[in-house]
């Protein structure tokens, strides 16, 4: 019979030694950053009901979900995202909790990615959600924390781009186009496809709104983009101007904090997960062709679960950060232990006691499972362990390797 017992399914992998060490280091650093700022850890189930993610705002493609059924035939999924389960918890078990709620998570997410393209279906994400707080203060907390994350675990040359969901949404409303056309425009803007965008807009005639959308893919760069957009906007629509003014306010604060060199503004920032309602941001590092951090404000999502709470948060691809760490040569394989203990026959547990004593003194120590003291010494030589303690009837003997 043909068996797959020696393989892992496509899109999954084992993490060994340096790889898992680098991942755990990143996760620990992030947990420290979050905990020290008052965020509490939340763990949600790996398996959730499909209904949690089956909503227009989630933007999850049905073909990307890992699905199964429970004993009653109800559809289950492996979680593709952590924000929606947290929104569910916030609206149910945490209903009426003291606000704001500061939560952080570190868990795996699952998505079927295109096969044979070098992607993982199971990835690790850490992130925070700041629930029950609206406005600039909360946004700045999340945004600067995201920058701290990129600085400490990403790379010194990271970039964070910021945009505003309201800008694109209100422009699209002003277009007065059908839903289908809007989603076409959405796709063109997201892929910065100027050519296709022009074709779609040509059909809508020449209005201030089409002119503004036409310029959209070019609207990224430093703060000057905001002035350029405001001038180009020959519209009186308050919402688009509000979005621009809000981004200007955010940028001004970041500039004051000396963080603006890492910030770019992208007014064409649109996201497939369209639960974002205000500020949106994404992080990039060299060595990773994909986005490593995604976040933003989602004030209407938790209401879909029955509790009207404003919220802001972000998620980081910890595996991508760990991979970049390894690429930069920041490998941290743990050094060989300082001691090896070996117990002669009848003194095995004495050796383990000695190990416990050494560990209590803060030393690192391994127990030898060799058959003889000679073999133990040979093992120590191979592993680079400098000192072996041999325990027998005469007590403890030290052997320098």
């Amino acid at each position: 019979m043909k068996t797959y017992a020696k393989l892992t399914p496509e899109g999954t992998r084992d993490f060994l030694f340096e790889e898992s060490d680098a991942l755990r280091t990143v996760e620990r650093q992030l947990a420290d950053l979050f905990k020290s700022r008052g965020y509490r850890k939340i763990i949600t189930p790996t398996v959730e009901f499909f209904d949690v993610f089956n909503r227009e705002s989630a933007g999850t493609l049905p073909e990307s979900l890992y699905t199964m059924t429970d004993a009653y035939g109800r559809l289950l999924v492996l979680r593709p995202d952590s924000t929606l389960p947290i929104a569910r918890v916030a609206a149910t078990r945490l209903r009426g909790a003291r606000l704001p709620l500061r939560l952080y998570y570190n868990q795996n997410v699952f998505a079927r990615r295109p096969k044979l393209a070098g992607y993982s279906d199971e990835t690790t994400q850490s992130g925070i959600e700041l629930l029950g707080a609206g406005g600039l203060r909360a946004d700045l907390e999340a945004l600067t924390l995201a920058m701290r994350v990129m600085e400490q675990c990403g790379a010194p040359d990271y970039k964070l781009e910021i945009g505003h969901a309201g800008y694109f949404q209100s422009l699209c409303e002003a277009l007065g186009a059908s839903g289908e056309t809007v989603s076409e425009i959405y796709a063109c803007v997201e892929s910065k496809n100027f050519v296709a965008l022009d074709t779609v807009l040509d059909a809508l005639g020449d209005t201030p709104a089409t002119r503004a959308v036409r310029e959209l893919p070019r609207m990224f760069g430093d703060a000057r983009v905001l002035d350029k957009a405001a001038q180009a906007l020959q519209m009186q629509d308050g919402e688009t101007h509000e979005a621009l003014a809000y981004l200007a306010a955010v940028y001004e604060r970041l500039e004051k904090a000396g963080l603006s060199e890492h910030i770019t503004i992208d007014l064409s920032l649109v996201h497939r997960t369209n639960y974002y309602t205000g500020l949106m941001f994404r992080g990039y590092i060299s060595g990773s062709g994909e986005t490593v951090l995604t976040g933003g404000r989602y004030d209407r999502l938790i209401a879909e679960f029955g509790e009207d709470l404003p919220a802001v948060g972000f998620g980081v691809q910890t595996d991508a950060l760990a991979r970049a760490k390894l690429q930069r040569g920041e490998t941290e394989s743990p050094p060989a232990p300082q001691f090896l203990v070996f117990g002669e026959e009848g003194f095995e547990t004495d050796a383990l006691d000695l190990q416990a004593k050494l560990l209590a003194e803060g030393k690192t120590c391994e127990n030898s499972v060799a058959q003889s003291a000679q073999e133990a010494a040979q093992y120590a030589r191979q592993c680079g362990i400098p000192t072996v303690y041999i325990v027998d009837a005469n007590g403890v003997r030290e052997v320098r390797v």
């Binding site: 892929s191 910065k192 100027f194 770019t264 060299s286 062709g289």
Partner: protein
């Protein structure tokens, strides 16, 4: 920081792209004397020669920052990157074609379509709400209707000579195609100025070439 890496589609598009590079004033000597090398210096850039489908893969993963590739490959493989410039090179169309004079849309039977582009074909017939049977062919797709393997083909058509010489005709144009400049998402953010400069230069060169 490493040089900006540009993936070029091997073959005819490569020659046309090199002409644009020369128009941009880039030193292409190495590209002309490439031998069997696949990574070559071009001015301040590094050129990588690859098959069209691999160009989009390299750019998507960010191991190449920029790519020059036909729109046919982009729509067929549907990956995620920025498509920033139409070079107007290699103009042709995706077409539905079949035996001359045979009404394609007649009858009730499910049509068989032979193609090298199953995704484009599926999307096209999905938009028509038509259920079709797609057969993937690797070489000359025109053979399939001649051998009566399929009712029609979906393929790229430039002049239509091959179709005519084999008694086939275009039933319907699906979409126009030309070479595009694509850019990796992260590179676009991290090396914006260099990429802007390149895109602007090659855009200008392609405009001049058209005149």
């Amino acid at each position: 920081m490493r040089k900006l890496r540009i993936a070029l589609t091997k073959g005819r598009l490569e020659k046309q792209t090199v002409e644009l590079f020369e128009r941009m004033g880039l030193d292409c000597t190495e590209l002309h004397n490439k031998g069997r090398r696949l990574i070559l210096p071009v001015g301040d850039y590094e050129a990588v020669l690859a098959k069209a489908a691999d160009v989009v893969t390299y750019v998507e993963h960010g191991v190449c920052d920029i790519g020059v590739v036909g729109r046919d490959t982009i729509v067929e493989y549907g990956k995620s990157f920025y498509e920033v410039c139409d070079l107007g090179l290699g103009k042709c169309d995706f077409c539905l074609a079949g035996k001359k004079g045979v009404p394609f849309y007649g009858g009730y039977n499910v049509k068989r379509i032979a193609t090298k582009y199953p995704n484009v074909t599926r999307a096209f017939f999905q938009s028509k709400g038509m259920d079709v049977n797609i057969i993937k062919i690797e070489g000359s797709v025109e053979l399939a209707p001649l051998l009566e393997l399929s009712d029609a083909i979906v393929d790229i058509v430039e002049t239509g000579t091959t179709l005519r010489e084999n008694g086939l005709e275009v039933y319907e144009k699906i979409m126009p195609i030309s070479a595009r400049v694509i850019v990796n998402t992260a590179s676009m953010k991290l090396r914006r100025d260099e990429i802007d400069e390149f895109v602007e230069m090659i855009g200008k060169a392609s405009q001049e070439a058209k005149v």
